[in-house]
C-alpha cells in the first residue's frame, strides 16, 4: 500500500503529483462514496457492541433489506491482527453484494458517560460552536479537565427543554474501538474500495428513536430508562417531551443499576418532576426482567411502560438502534417535540464519535479537489489537443512556406535576371531607337515615283520644277516630334490635263494617289489611312501668256507655247508627334 504524505509536508509540485497519483490509481474521482457519510451509502454494515455480545447486520439501503452480518467477536474489535482479518473478510463478503462502497456503523452500547460543560457556556446559540470545539479541542469546553483527550472522544448534546439549567452536556466515549474502524478504512484504501466508518453512541440513537416508540402523554413529564448490560441511561423529558437531562448509571457487574431508585428520586427533586411516566427500554439480552415490577412498586403513581421499537425480522427487538440510525422516519411522521426533530435533523444523536483523524483526512484531496483535478485533466487534454492542432497548423504552414518556389528562390538570381533584363531592355531601346530613326519616312526615289504617278508620260503636262522639302516640327519637351513634307510642282498643262489636275485637287483624289504610291513602293509614309497624318493639296491654274495655238500634228511635248495653262501644285503631308513615323528626340540610349 502506498503511503501518502500529508500535503503540508510536501512542496506544491509533490502535492500535485500525489493528487494526480490518487486520481490515476484510485476511484476517488469517480466514486462519490469516498466522500459520503456511512449512513448514506447503499450497503451498510451495522455492528453493535453492548458488552455482552457483538451483533452485526448488513443493510442494503436501496432494498431496505437487513441480513445477518459476519460473526464478529470482541477479540476482532480489539486485536490488531484480527481486525485486519475481519476487515478483509467483511470486504470479501461485501463484494458479493456487488456494492461499490461500504458504510461501517459501529453502535457503542457498552459505554456511555456524560461530562459537564463549563458553567460559562450557557448560551444555547453557541451550541454549534461548542459542537465543533468538542471535536477539535474538547478541553476548552469541559468542566473536568482531568480526562485525557487522546483516549476519549466527546460530543456535545443539547438539552432543548426550557428550564433545564444548562444548555447541554457532553457524551464521552473512549477511543478503544478507533483502531478497529481504522483497520476497515485502511482495508478500503488498500483495495481501492470506499469504506466509510461511523461510530454512534447507541443510547443516543435509542433516545432519538423514542419519538416513534414511546407514547408521550401530553402535559406529562417522562423518563426513559435505557437498559444495557453494563449501564443504564436515564433520559428525563419535560411535559413537552423535550430533553431535560441525561444521566448514566453503571451496573457495576449487577444486572441493573443498584442506585436507580435514588437516582430517579433525587433527579425528580432537582428537576421538579412529579410522577413522570417511566419508559423502560430493554436493549440487550439477559436483562433483569423485574425492573418493570420494581419501578411500578417503587413509583406507584407513575405510568410504567416497556417500550420496544419495531424492527425487521432479522434484527432482534433489543437492538433497535441499528434500524433507528439506518432508516429515518417517514417525513409525514411528526416528532413529538423539538428534541426529537433537532436530534434527527441536526444529527445530534448521530454524531460520529470515532472519525478518522483530521491529519489522515487531509492527506486526501477533497471531493471538490478531485473533481477539479479530473475536470482539469479533461481540460488539459483539450488544451493539448488544441495546442498540437495549432502547432500542426503552424508546422504545416512552415512546411508549405519551405516548399514554395519563392522560399527556395536565390535572391542573387534576381539580380542576375534584373541585370539581364536591363541589358536586354537597353538593347531593345537601342533597337527601337534606330528602328525609328532609320524608318522609311523620307526617300527621294519614292517622291520621284509620286511625281511620275502624278503626271505620267504624254498626259498633257510639262513639269518645269519639282521641289520636295521635309521640315521637322518644333515641340520642346516631347520625346517624339512630328514633321511636315511638302511637294511643290510647277509646270504647264494642256486642256486634257486640266481634268486630271482637278481630280487630284480633291482630298479623295490625292489620298487615292498616296494610297497607290504606298502600295507600289511599300513605303508606309504614303499610307493615307493612318489617323495621325493629314494630306492637303492645292492646285492653281492660270493661262499661259506665251501660248500659241497650233495644229496637234505640229506640236511637241517640250514646246511650252503649245500649253495653254500654267499650273502650280502644292501637296502638304503632316505627321503628328503620335504618328508611328514621328521622330525620336533623344539620343540613342
Amino acid at each position: 500500500m502506498v503511503t501518502f504524505q500529508h500535503p503540508a509536508s510536501l512542496n506544491a509540485f509533490e502535492r500535485y503529483q500525489q493528487a494526480s497519483w490518487m486520481l490515476l490509481h484510485s476511484t476517488r474521482a469517480t466514486n462519490p462514496a469516498w466522500y459520503q457519510a456511512a449512513l448514506d451509502l447503499d450497503v451498510q454494515l451495522h455492528i453493535r457492541v453492548d458488552g455482552l455480545c457483538v451483533s452485526s447486520f448488513f443493510y442494503e439501503r436501496c432494498k431496505e433489506a437487513w441480513t445477518i452480518g459476519p460473526a464478529i467477536t470482541e477479540a476482532d474489535l480489539r486485536d490488531t491482527p484480527k481486525m485486519e482479518t475481519c476487515a478483509a473478510e467483511v470486504l470479501k463478503q461485501v463484494r458479493t453484494f456487488k456494492a461499490s462502497s461500504l458504510g461501517v456503523i459501529l453502535h457503542l452500547a457498552d459505554e456511555f458517560t456524560t461530562a459537564e460543560l463549563k458553567p460559562t457556556f450557557d448560551n444555547p446559540a453557541a451550541l454549534l460552536d461548542l459542537r465543533e470545539t468538542a471535536v477539535r479541542k474538547p478541553t476548552n469546553i469541559l468542566d473536568d479537565s482531568s480526562i485525557p483527550p487522546e483516549q476519549n472522544s466527546w460530543r456535545v448534546l443539547p438539552y432543548p427543554a426550557q428550564g433545564s439549567g444548562v444548555v447541554g452536556t457532553t457524551i464521552t466515549i473512549t477511543r478503544k474501538y478507533a483502531p478497529f474502524l481504522t483497520a476497515f478504512r485502511n482495508a478500503g484504501e488498500s483495495s481501492n474500495f470506499p469504506i466509510i466508518t461511523h461510530a454512534l453512541s447507541a443510547p443516543l440513537v435509542a433516545i432519538m428513536g423514542l419519538a416513534q416508540s414511546a407514547q408521550f402523554a401530553p402535559g406529562k413529564s417522562s423518563v426513559a430508562i435505557l437498559q444495557y448490560p453494563w449501564l443504564s441511561v436515564l433520559a428525563f423529558f419535560n411535559e413537552h417531551a423535550d430533553l431535560l437531562l441525561i444521566r448514566t448509571l453503571q451496573h457495576r457487574h449487577l444486572r441493573q443499576a443498584p442506585n436507580l431508585r435514588q437516582a430517579l428520586t433525587t433527579t425528580y427533586a432537582s428537576l421538579e418532576l412529579i410522577d413522570p411516566d417511566l419508559f423502560i427500554l430493554p436493549l440487550s439480552l439477559d436483562l433483569d426482567p423485574g425492573l418493570h415490577r420494581y419501578l411500578s412498586d417503587t413509583f406507584p403513581l407513575s405510568r410504567v411502560a416497556i417500550v420496544t421499537y419495531p424492527t425487521p425480522e432479522v434484527v432482534p427487538d433489543w437492538c433497535p438502534e441499528l434500524v433507528i440510525a439506518a432508516t429515518p422516519p417517514p417525513k409525514d411522521d411528526l416528532a413529538p417535540s423539538l428534541t426529537f426533530s433537532t436530534f434527527r435533523s441536526e444529527n445530534w444523536a448521530l454524531q460520529d464519535f470515532l472519525p478518522a483523524a483530521t491529519e489522515v483526512v487531509e492527506v486526501y484531496p477533497t471531493r471538490a479537489e478531485m473533481l477539479l483535478l479530473r475536470g482539469l485533466k479533461l481540460a488539459r487534454m483539450t488544451l493539448y489537443t488544441l495546442t498540437v492542432l495549432m502547432l500542426a497548423w503552424v508546422v504545416f504552414g512552415i512546411v508549405d512556406i519551405f516548399c514554395s518556389d519563392a522560399w527556395t528562390f536565390d535572391p542573387n538570381q534576381a539580380n542576375v535576371i534584373k541585370g539581364r533584363l536591363r541589358n536586354l531592355t537597353h538593347e531593345h531601346q537601342k533597337s527601337e531607337h534606330w528602328d525609328n530613326l532609320l524608318a522609311d519616312r523620307s526617300k527621294a526615289w519614292t517622291s520621284m515615283e509620286l511625281l511620275s504617278r502624278l503626271f505620267p508620260e504624254h498626259c498633257g503636262v510639262l513639269v518645269r520644277n519639282f521641289a520636295h522639302t521635309v521640315r521637322p516640327e518644333s515641340a520642346p519637351g516631347q520625346t517624339k516630334i512630328g514633321f511636315m513634307k511638302e511637294w511643290r510642282i510647277t509646270g504647264l498643262a494642256r486642256d486634257e490635263a486640266v481634268d486630271r489636275l482637278n481630280t487630284l485637287n480633291t482630298q479623295e483624289g490625292i489620298a487615292a494617289l498616296f494610297g497607290e504610291i504606298a502600295r507600289l513602293t511599300a513605303n508606309p509614309a504614303f499610307n493615307p489611312a493612318v489617323r495621325t497624318r493629314s494630306i492637303a493639296i492645292n492646285v492653281r491654274t492660270q493661262e499661259n501668256s506665251g501660248f500659241k495655238p497650233l495644229p496637234l500634228s505640229e506640236t511637241f511635248d517640250t514646246d511650252e507655247s503649245t500649253y495653254p495653262f500654267n499650273f502650280d501644285l502644292t501637296i502638304t503631308q503632316r505627321f503628328e508627334a503620335a504618328d508611328p513615323l514621328a521622330l525620336n528626340v533623344n539620343k540613342s540610349p
Binding site: 500535503p7 506544491a12 509540485f13 502535492r15 500525489q18 493528487a19 484531496p365 477533497t366 471538490a368 479537489e369 477539479l372 482539469l376 485533466k377 488544451l383 493539448y384 488544441l386 495546442t387 495549432m390 503552424v394 504552414g397 512552415i398 512556406i401 514554395s404 518556389d405 519563392a406 528562390f409 535572391p411 538570381q413 534576381a414 539581364r420 533584363l421 536586354l424 531592355t425 531593345h428 537601342k430 533597337s431 534606330w434 528602328d435 530613326l437 532609320l438 523620307s442 527621294a444 520621284m448 511625281l451 511620275s452 513639269v463 520644277n465 519639282f466 521641289a467 520636295h468 522639302t469 521635309v470 521640315r471 521637322p472 514633321f483 517640250t558 525620336n584 533623344n586 539620343k587 540613342s588
Partner: protein
C-alpha cells in the same frame, strides 16, 4: 482542507495553459516571421519571374531584330560621306554613265533638318546630280536602300536650264540628314 487546490490549479491548468500558449505564441511568431520573409521573397520572386518573362519577350523580339541591328551597326560604323561616295561609285558602275553623273558633293557637320530636331548626332549631305529621271530614281532607290540612315531633307529637280539645247538630262539636288552613331 482544500490543501491541494492551489497545486492542482497551478500544475493542472495554469502552467500547462501557459506552456501551450507559449508554444502557440512561439509557433505563431516563427510563422509570422517566416511569412514576412516569404512575403519579401515572394515579391522578389514575382518581380524576378516577371523580369524573366519580360526578358524572354524582349529576347524573342531581339532575336528577330538582331541581324538588322548588326547590319545597321556596320552601316553606322562607317563615316557617312565616304560611305555615300563609295555606294554611289558602286551604283554608277551599274548605270549608264551619261544618265547618272554626280556633279557636286558637300558634307556639312552643322545640324539642320531632322538633325536639328533630335539629340542624335547627324551630318548634312548635299549632292548634286545630272541624269535622266528613271536612272536617277533607280540610283536613289539603290542608295537609300543600302543606306537607310539617309533621311531626305530636300529634293529639287530642274530641267536643263538651256532651252535651246533640249535634253532628257535633269538636274537633281538632294539634301540628306545622315544619322551618325
Amino acid at each position: 482542507m482544500n490543501l491541494y487546490r492551489q497545486s492542482i490549479a497551478m500544475f493542472g491548468i495554469v502552467l500547462p495553459a501557459l506552456g501551450g500558449v507559449l508554444f502557440i505564441a512561439l509557433g505563431f511568431t516563427l510563422k509570422s516571421k517566416m511569412l514576412d520573409s516569404l512575403s519579401n521573397k515572394q515579391t522578389l520572386f514575382e518581380s524576378s519571374k516577371n523580369s524573366r518573362i519580360k526578358a524572354l519577350e524582349i529576347e524573342t523580339k531581339l532575336t528577330l531584330q538582331r541581324p538588322k541591328i548588326s547590319h545597321w551597326s556596320v552601316l553606322l560604323a562607317e563615316e557617312s560621306s565616304s560611305a555615300v561616295n563609295s555606294h554611289l561609285r558602286a551604283i554608277a558602275e551599274t548605270l549608264p554613265p551619261k544618265e547618272f553623273q554626280k556633279t557636286a558633293f558637300e558634307r556639312n557637320n552643322a545640324k539642320a533638318g531632322f538633325g536639328s530636331a533630335t539629340a542624335q548626332p547627324s551630318s548634312q549631305l548635299r549632292i548634286v546630280f545630272r541624269g535622266t529621271f528613271r536612272t536617277m530614281q533607280r540610283a536613289f532607290l539603290e542608295l537609300e536602300t543600302s543606306m537607310p540612315q539617309l533621311q531626305l531633307q530636300e529634293l529639287r529637280i530642274d530641267p536643263n536650264p538651256n532651252p535651246q539645247i533640249p535634253s532628257t538630262l535633269l538636274n537633281f539636288q538632294v539634301n540628306y540628314t545622315a544619322w551618325e552613331n
